[in-house]
């Protein structure tokens, strides 16, 4: 495994472990609070480890070679397009009162983006010949 990939795994998994801890400890406490202040802090708290996860991803992409960066760029563009158009459609449907979209649906945008990104990464990698021969 290349050092850039190893570093990414360590950074990303650490961030996701911290996210899990926040969601198990801070989040249940925050949503039970009466006043807005603690609820606000608790609501924003999960974003801290997620920012570190995003930082890990950016460092991984920037540390990749030219083909890896190209593949990542295509996957990111496709993910942004698919999720952007999808959420825009949901927004219009909600505005026209065809569909009721709860506010919590916003939390699904990032996972959807990451999921489409991952699927597209696999497809685009295959376009460039897929997995290399074994060493």
């Amino acid at each position: 495994m290349r050092p850039v990939n190893r570093r990414y795994l360590v950074e990303f998994l650490s961030a996701m472990a911290a996210y899990t801890v926040v969601m198990v400890t801070v989040w249940p406490w925050a949503v039970g609070q009466e006043s807005t202040g603690p609820r606000l802090v608790g609501a924003i708290a999960p974003m801290v480890p997620l920012l570190f996860a995003a930082r890990a991803l950016v460092r991984r992409v920037l540390g990749g070679d030219e083909l890896e960066q190209r593949v990542q760029l295509v996957a990111a563009a496709v993910a942004a397009g698919v999720v952007g158009l999808g959420t825009m459609t949901l927004g219009f449907l909600a505005s026209a009162r065809v569909l009721e979209v709860p506010g919590q649906a916003f939390t699904l945008v990032l996972p959807a983006l990451v999921m489409v990104w991952g699927i597209t990464l696999g497809l685009v990698s295959r376009r460039y010949g897929g997995a290399p021969e074994e060493p």
Binding site: G129, P132, E133, P135
Partner: protein, 64 residues
């Protein structure tokens, strides 16, 4: 663009992983160049040229 990467690598007895390490790229990138799914940038082509001790035109030739 066609290339002689696989042939030159085999002559030297290098695996894709070894060549990738010498070029500081991923094994997937070496594989994509060898299988002609990807044409490298000029800086990477110059790196290959230097590594194999051959001018770029001896490594790469125009495709159809």
């Amino acid at each position: 663009v066609k290339n002689r990467l696989r042939e030159l690598r085999a002559e030297r007895g290098w695996s894709q992983a070894e060549l990738a390490a010498r070029l500081d790229v991923s094994r997937q990138t070496v594989n994509a160049i060898e299988t002609e799914h990807y044409d490298p940038s000029l800086p990477l082509a110059f790196k290959l040229s230097k590594l194999f001790g051959l001018p770029i035109e001896k490594l790469f030739t125009p495709g159809k």
